[in-house]
């Protein structure tokens, strides 16, 4: 058998067989499902413990009461203010809203409670009162209620991508979410697996097995075997995550929420049901996720993960070979961490808002930043030639870093107990043979 293959096999199997690998493989999809379930459960139940606000209306404008909302319920009270205040002192969950007589002419609302009211409660109250007041004023100005009901603009942008194949529904929100998720995943895994490569090399160096191994194989083979082996571990992990989450999500949606969703539907009037079928709780998330072009994004994710991983792990390998222990890696980590961190920050503050700007373009083309930047840009649509160029440069980039790293590695792994500087690394790089 080819020796590099043997090394890949050992690196791969020794990690996949670990308990921590199994644990991560099952734990992460569980977490994803858990979060997904939570989102759906919350959107169905609207959260529990909805506070009830007692309303004392001295102005008489809101004598029809305020509308109950998801986050807050209202109850019109006829008690005198002082008596109602006593209740608030007695009950720490109670809210009391006092609407003064002069509310229309600028008087201040008072909200009494032991706990500070949440932002959503405050804004719900403000919105409702503003609406009510506006209606009152408009009516006073001579516009009748029927006209008012008709004037209710409701704008909703449906973004459609126009391509040669025709119109396609696309959801900017979902695209952003997928881009974010992919970028975060790549960012984290470049570190996680890169550091595994580094640790593996430090382990071989400190346990002194390395000299035995490189008397059988070339240092380059050992380094590449390790990098590829660990990269495959990463790919296996992702694949298992995707399969497991997909399966679990289908099961969860069907078993856990089927009855609940139907219960919600039956409570609604028939006319609303149709709307709910399209955009009901949970389904809008699923629907948005379906508009993302997975057949395009998944392969791209795998290519950019693996390419980025190869590029950075080679650098991690060089660092691992140069030091004797984890604690010495600090100074060499900075040049590796910096471009990654920079792209990460740029992705979320800039690229996501300007996916087609020239800075975004360059970030997604330069090999050191492209794995993360391109994933953020991709859901917004990237021309094929840019994608191709980015991939070609990424491949070129990792060939380059691997070459540089291997020249440092072959010397580094045989240097024990030596404090190394960047200058020293430069010297190693220049050595012949």
């Amino acid at each position: 058998m080819n020796k590099t293959l043997l090394i890949i096999q050992r690196e791969y199997l020794s990690r996949v067989k670990k308990k921590s690998f199994l644990l991560m493989t099952f734990l992460v999809p569980m977490l994803i499902i858990g979060m997904y379930a939570l989102v759906i459960a919350l959107s169905i139940n609207g959260g529990d413990n909805v506070p009830t606000v007692e309303v004392i209306d001295d102005s008489g404008i809101f004598n029809k009461g305020l509308k109950d909302k998801k986050s807050v319920k209202f109850h019109l009270s006829t008690e005198p203010l002082d008596q109602a205040k006593q209740k608030v002192i007695a009950d720490d969950g109670a809210f009391l809203l006092h609407i003064p007589k002069d509310i229309a002419s600028g008087g201040n609302l008072e909200l009494f409670s032991q706990k500070k009211a949440g932002l959503s409660v405050m804004s719900t109250i403000e919105d409702q009162l503003n609406d009510g007041l506006r209606n009152k004023m408009l009516q006073d100005a001579g516009i009748d209620a029927a006209t008012l009901d008709n004037i209710k603009p409701d704008v909703n942008i449906v973004s459609k991508q126009l391509t040669l194949e025709g119109e396609k529904d696309s959801s900017s929100g979902a695209a952003m979410a997928v881009g974010f998720a992919a970028a975060i995943l790549i960012y984290m895994s470049l570190f996680i697996y890169g550091i595994q490569v580094m640790r593996g090399i430090i382990e071989e160096k400190t346990s002194r097995i390395v000299e035995v191994v490189i008397s059988s194989v070339r240092p380059f083979q050992l380094m590449m075997g390790k990098i590829i082996g660990i990269g495959l571990v990463g790919l296996t992990q992702f694949l298992l995550w995707i399969i497991l989450s997909g399966t679990l999500m289908t099961v969860a949606t069907n078993v856990l929420f089927k009855d609940k969703m139907e219960a919600v539907k039956s409570e609604m009037p028939a006319a609303q049901q149709q709307i709910a079928a399209q955009s009901g709780p949970g389904t809008d998330i699923v629907k948005a996720i379906q508009t993302v072009e997975w057949s395009y994004i998944l392969p791209a994710f795998i290519i950019f993960f693996f390419g980025g991983y190869m590029l950075y792990s080679a650098l991690f390998a060089a660092v691992g070979s140069a030091v004797d222990s984890d604690t010495e890696t600090q100074q060499f980590m900075l040049p590796i961490t910096l471009p990654l961190l920079f792209t990460y920050i740029m992705s979320f503050s800039f690229i996501v808002n300007n996916p087609d700007s020239s800075l975004s373009f360059w970030l997604s083309i330069i090999p050191f930043t492209s794995p993360i930047a391109m994933m953020v840009r991709l859901p917004f649509g990237v021309p094929m030639w840019e994608l191709a160029l980015s991939i070609v440069l990424l491949i070129g980039g990792f060939i380059f870093t691997t070459w540089v790293a291997s020249r440092i590695y072959r010397i580094g792994i045989l240097m024990y107990g030596k404090k190394v500087s960047f200058k020293e690394l430069g010297k190693w790089f220049m050595y012949k043979g």
Binding site: L6, S207, V212, S215, S216
Partner: protein
């Protein structure tokens, strides 16, 4: 077997090997001797193709050294270790396969060696559960499992306990009898001089002496003898030898003498027999260490 010609290895600010040439004969036990930092390990790494020389060539069985020779060499490095979390058997299989053995052959050979070393029961154990001495046995097996034609042992006895050292020495000598060529590298010259047929002395990156141990010793013979006898020498003044040292222990007297060039050991013996009761008569042969020191001083 192994022919090293004019090897130069230059590191940034020092020359590790300076024009070193060495011949190792097939089937011999060869000692690569020299103090720490002399360049022994650099030379061994070149033979193992871990690093390349800046100039010079190495020939293995007459062929220029190339990757196909890797499987014919077994190397026990000075800095040796194993994967701590890996099972011993699995680890041996991995290392043997890296040397180019098939899985079946490797399994067979490992079992053979494990039985021989009486460590069969360790197959499923992890390295971290073994003592250092036990690990060394495993490392030795890893070195010889692929039946190498050339076995290179860098400071083989450092860290070995005396019992294991003897076990390993016996195994090495047996392998040598079966045709393997052995290279010992060590700075403790006395530890291998009785094992080696030939040696090379390396000092400050240069080879300062090499050849058969017998020849070298002959070369450095100083015609010095140690004599133990009963009785008294009547005349200590003579033209035959010069007394270097004189001690007495109970009834026995000891003399260390340097015999003059015109005379042989027999002449001295003849003379002594007339005078005293001779109990011991032994040539004082310089040790490798003495020879080394003598060479370094020059």
């Amino acid at each position: 077997m192994l022919s090293i010609r004019n090897i130069v290895k230059q590191y940034a600010n020092h020359r590790a090997l300076d024009n070193v040439s060495i011949e190792v004969e097939k089937g011999s036990v060869f000692g690569l001797l020299g103090p720490n930092g002399a360049g022994k390990t650099s030379l061994i790494r070149i033979i193992n193709q871990i690093t390349g020389p800046d100039s010079g060539e190495v020939f293995f069985n007459g062929e220029k050294l190339n990757p196909s020779h890797i499987s014919k060499i077994g190397y026990l490095p000075e800095e040796r270790g194993l994967y701590k979390k890996m099972e011993i058997g699995e680890q041996m299989l991995y290392l043997a396969q890296l040397k180019g053995m098939s899985k079946q052959d490797a399994t067979k050979r490992i079992k053979y060696w494990f039985e021989k070393m009486e460590i069969e029961s360790w197959w499923k154990k992890k390295v971290e559960d073994l003592s250092k001495g036990m690990q060394q046995k495993v490392q030795f097996v890893a070195t010889v499992v692929h039946d190498p034609e050339l076995i290179i042992l860098d400071e083989p006895f450092s860290g070995f306990d005396p019992v294991n050292a003897q076990v390993i020495t016996n195994e090495i000598l047996e392998l040598n009898r079966k045709g393997a060529t052995i290279i010992f590298s060590t700075h403790r010259m006395e530890s291998v001089e009785q094992l080696c047929d030939s040696i090379a002395l390396i000092h400050k990156s240069k080879k300062i002496l090499d050849g058969k141990v017998k020849d070298i010793k002959n070369l450095y013979r100083s015609n010095t003898y140690r004599i133990g006898f009963e009785g008294q020498l009547t005349s200590t003044e003579n033209t035959m030898f010069e007394i270097l040292d004189q001690t007495a222990d109970n009834d026995l007297n000891y003399l260390t003498v340097k015999v003059q060039e015109k005379y042989s050991a027999n002449d001295v013996l003849k003379f002594l027999i007339q005078e005293v009761q001779v109990n011991e008569f032994m040539e004082v042969i310089p040790s490798m260490n003495d020879i080394f020191i003598q060479n370094v001083k020059n």
